[in-house]
């Protein structure tokens, strides 16, 4: 190795580049923790015609980039990527490997960790270096109701998949230049055991709910379809989006698109209103990233009320109506 600095690797996950900035976010985080362990931030890019990503990762904070660029890597392949990543890691012995918690990353990361016989923490929402120089990985469990801090004291590399949207990318800077190291495709790569027959791009189910800064969720406690409709008016006044629990979808008060929960969408608004929702784990699993929660439920002991920042014990429909009225008054006054 050219120098003895501890390499922090970030897997270059460039598919869906414009929606998925997680690789850039990880490069930023790697830069932030690097000084504590005399770290060198490296990106690993596998694929074909990936020059522009190599350039981009350099401009976003990678000091060194390992690239394997080959026509056989034209499409993402769990089998081949695992093989290549493991081989490279066995040779270069990075201290840390960070992988974006995309669907691909969450399937690929575990396989790499298994072959390297090391630990992997899933879907992290925090990464720090502790006094012993270990990577402290904060991971949610129980639908975000608990957070665990996890370390890998002995095995190396320390590995984590990291949830998109947690860290802030470093702005693009063309003056930053990374050292680019080309790794030729090894001659002995195995046959891909999974045959990709068809692959259609499904340009996102729209991400309105996922990206909304204000989300208004309604549950069975709203009482009826016509009462539930008021949530849309409230959402309009607050520039928000409406979400719903499963009973609401079953009763057809809202479209399936609005389902928030394990079987539906994950939201992370700055402000979440929750009206008439009990707080079953299948629902709360998807809302625990909300920064501030205001819950309205006539049952003060409902789980949703316990996890709220502000818990209003009252009739959901009446509070909704009063909110709309008050908002209209205030918006007119300004």
């Amino acid at each position: 190795m050219a120098d003895k600095r501890n390499e922090i690797w970030v897997f270059g996950d460039y598919r869906n580049y414009f929606q998925n900035r997680v690789t850039l976010q990880l490069l930023a985080r790697a830069n932030a923790i690097a000084p504590a362990i005399d770290g060198l931030v490296c990106a690993v890019v596998l694929g074909h015609d990936v020059g522009e990503y190599v350039w981009e990762y350099g401009a976003h904070g990678a000091d060194r980039i390992y690239v394997t660029d080959h026509p056989d890597l034209k499409t993402y392949s769990g089998d081949l990527y695992t093989h290549l990543m493991v081989k490279l890691a066995e040779e270069k012995r990075p201290e840390i490997i960070l992988i974006g918690a995309t669907d691909f990353g969450r399937e690929f990361g575990p396989r790499v960790a298994k072959r390297l016989e090391t630990g992997l923490t899933a879907d992290c929402v925090g990464l720090e270096i502790n006094r012993d120089g270990l990577l402290v990985q904060t991971a949610p469990g129980f639908g975000g109701n608990l957070l665990a801090e996890i370390v890998t004291p002995k095995a190396r590399p320390q590995m984590a998949t990291v949830r998109p949207g947690i860290f802030q990318e470093i702005p693009h800077d063309d003056d930053r230049k990374a050292e680019v190291i080309e790794i030729p495709l090894p001659p002995d790569i195995p046959r891909d055991r999974v045959r990709l027959l068809r692959c259609e791009y499904r340009p996102g189910r729209d991400q309105c709910l996922e990206d909304a800064r204000v989300v208004i969720c309604g549950g069975r406690g709203m009482g009826s379809k016509s009462k539930f409709k008021k949530l849309f008016e409230l959402a309009r006044l607050l520039n928000g989006e409406v979400g719903a629990t499963r009973p609401v979808i079953y009763s057809r008060w809202a479209d399936h698109e609005a389902l928030v929960g394990q079987a539906g969408r994950q939201v992370k608004p700055r402000l979440l209103f929750s009206f008439g929702i009990s707080g079953a784990i299948q629902h709360t699993a998807a809302v625990t990233d909300a920064e501030f929660i205001i819950a309205v439920n006539k049952n003060p002991h409902a789980t949703m009320m316990k996890m709220a920042d502000v818990a209003i014990a009252a009739d959901a429909n009446q509070v909704c109506t009063a909110l709309i009225k008050e908002l209209k008054r205030r918006l007119k006054s300004s």
Binding site: R15, N16, Q19, N20, G78, D103, F104, R106, E107, P110, R111, K114, T118, G119, L120, A122, D123, V136, G141, F142, N145, L147, A148, E149, I150, K154, A155, R193, V194, R195, L197, R198, C199, R202, L238, N239, Q262, A263, P269, R270, L271, A280, I281, T288, P300, T303, K306, M307, D309, V310, A313, A314, T321, L323, K325, E326, R329, R330, L331, S334
Partner: protein, 289 residues
């Protein structure tokens, strides 16, 4: 192929709607939690049951024997999920329970499940796992078990057909709808989205608790190396657990709707307005009280 072996890995998870979180000791009182079948694993079992039905209908009557074996690793009470799986239609269950298995992280869990499968069903065709369990939510055991068994794998499978020694799959992965094919034996993970589990018939449940083919295996029975202690062998260590919700202030408001809304705005108009990107301050109107 005149015989097909399907395996479903099922985890028992705490029924966490009432999370027995102890804020004093900052631990989850697992012994307090009632157990349930992990929802994703239940969907995985449903997928296995459905594919068995389809194959049985396709095959000339009686020619194919399709067997579903369910496996769980956990404390003795995990046996419940095996019984429930039998009631849903699985043929036999394997309970892996041993103090040496306690405290396994995903790497060691996949080794233990792999060792068990190699022992009890070395001729397996297809392994089903949930895409992610509802407690730890790692989603790592499936892919790592595929590595342990050295078979091809696909996660997040939404449709699958078995035909002549291979399996055809449809799945959604990062906005790509993929059609994949792989040879058997193989492993799939199933998200809790498409294979909605059937209800467990009460009578069946009772029957499966009374009879039902369930066997218990210890570490030694599956040829785990005698010096393997899961808690020690696991490369990851949990150093701290905390509850983000327990640290919230949890302000309580009650009373008539109009009153609480006024109070809400008095205390939080900045936060509400900030999130909405609107100025909600009352300028020329009198602020109530």
């Amino acid at each position: 192929m005149d015989k097909i072996e399907l395996i479903v890995c099922i985890k028992q998870v705490p029924l966490v709607s009432e999370l027995p979180w102890d804020p004093k000791t900052k631990t989850l009182r697992r012994e307090m939690a009632e157990g349930m079948m992990d929802p994703a694993a239940k969907h995985a079992l449903e997928a296995a049951l459905q594919i068995r039905k389809v194959m049985e209908e396709k095959a000339v009557a009686g020619k194919k024997k399709i067997r579903i074996t369910v496996i769980t690793m956990g404390p003795p009470m995990s046996e419940e999920v095996l019984r429930e799986a039998l009631a849903m239609g699985a043929d036999s269950g394997v309970l892996l329970t041993d103090p040496r298995m306690a405290g396994a992280d995903t790497l060691i869990t996949s080794k233990i499940l792999g060792a068990a499968i190699k022992k009890v069903r070395p001729d397996f065709d297809l392994v089903f796992c949930g895409s992610a369990a509802s407690d730890s939510e790692t989603g790592q055991v499936g892919p790592q078990l595929a590595e342990e068994l050295d078979v091809p794998a696909a996660a997040y499978v939404e449709r699958l057909d078995i035909e002549n020694g291979h399996i055809r799959i449809q799945r959604l992965c990062d906005n790509f709808l993929e059609t994949l094919e792989m040879d058997l034996p193989a492993l799939v993970t199933i998200p809790p989205r498409t294979f909605f589990p059937r209800h467990v018939p009460l009578g069946g449940l009772q029957q499966s608790f009374e009879g039902g083919d369930v066997r218990t295996l210890l570490a030694a029975d599956i040829a785990l190396s005698p010096d393997l202690y899961a808690a020690k062998a696991s490369p990851t260590k949990i150093v701290n657990v905390f509850s983000p919700t327990a640290e919230k202030e949890n302000i309580r408001l009650r009373g008539a709707a109009k009153k609480v809304v006024e109070e809400l705005f008095r205390r939080f108009e900045d936060r509400i307005g900030g999130a909405a990107g609107k100025d909600l301050k009352i300028s020329d109107l009198k602020i109530p009280e």
